[in-house]
Amino acid sequence: MTADEGALALGMAIVFGTLGAYALHLWRARKTAV
């Protein structure tokens, strides 16, 4: 894997990892809020 490919993979992991973690947090918080 080249540095360019690795950086792109890391960038995509940041985008989808952050969004996924936040969506999961909202979903879990919603279950405990009611």
Partner: protein, 239 residues
């Protein structure tokens, strides 16, 4: 407006929009010229829209804070808190994708050392990191205060003052080595501006979906708290 009915269609549209964003960034967008790391350059279609959506979120937070101070209606406090939290999440994405992109571009272009100094010398990075920290502070503040008018008032003032970092972050690229890909001769191929516009619209949709979900959660928590107070008072828990 019924938030509950709006939440699911918005969320589905946002997920589909994100999938479309991936297709546009990797299959439709042309390869940009003048970049030493042309693959990572495609982060552009996530990095810039995430930053613009974050600016929109902080604008909502500041405007709702102002409306709260004027009306003292608790719902504006909930709107402000939801906007600030989603804005902090979007800024996290914009900030760290930017660091990854600039790092690989720095080394691919022949840089040997001094990336950290280059990054810290970029006003765009510094002002955006400051914006991120300001709103992390906002969230920490709310978390450590009891729900009520004092917290709402303090949050509103903090959110309005914190919003001052938004124009600083936005305008700082004019005074920094940060690439301005929309400037003429920047290497932006024809059509990339249009694609960026579409991706930005998709990220604004994503912001709207996350914001509505967060606001619903805030409304439920407030309703649950309000229901608890009379029950506790009846049991003699509250004097």
């Amino acid at each position: 407006m019924n938030l509950q009915r709006l939440a699911m269609p918005l969320s589905v549209a946002a997920v589909l929009g994100l999938a479309l964003n991936v297709v546009l960034a990797f299959w439709v967008a042309p390869t940009a010229a003048n970049f030493a790391a042309p693959l990572t350059q495609r982060i552009f279609y996530f990095h810039v829209p995430a930053a613009i959506a974050a600016y929109a979120a902080f604008t909502v937070a500041a405007a709702a804070g102002g409306l709260y101070l004027r009306s003292r209606e608790a719902r504006w406090d909930r709107v402000a808190a939801s906007g600030a939290e989603v804005g902090a999440v979007l800024t996290t994405i914009a900030l760290f994708t930017g660091v990854v992109w600039s790092r690989v571009e720095f080394f691919s272009a022949g840089g040997q050392q001094g990336f950290t100094f280059a990054l810290l010398g970029d006003p765009k990075f510094v002002t955006t990191a400051a914006l991120w920290l300001v709103f992390l502070g906002y969230l920490a503040l709310r978390r450590n205060l009891e729900p009520g008018e004092a917290r709402a008032r303090l949050s509103a003032v903090y959110g309005i003052l914190g919003f001052l970092a938004v124009p600083l972050s936005y305008l700082s690229s004019r005074f920094s080595p940060h690439p301005d890909l929309l400037a003429p001769g920047s290497g932006l191929a024809p059509g990339m501006g249009l694609l960026l516009g579409i991706c930005t619209a998709l990220w604004l949709l994503l912001f709207a979906a996350l914001f509505v979900q967060r606001l619903l959660l805030e409304e439920r928590t407030a309703a649950a708290l309000e229901a608890q107070v009379p029950a506790m008072a009846a049991q003699g828990g509250i004097a």
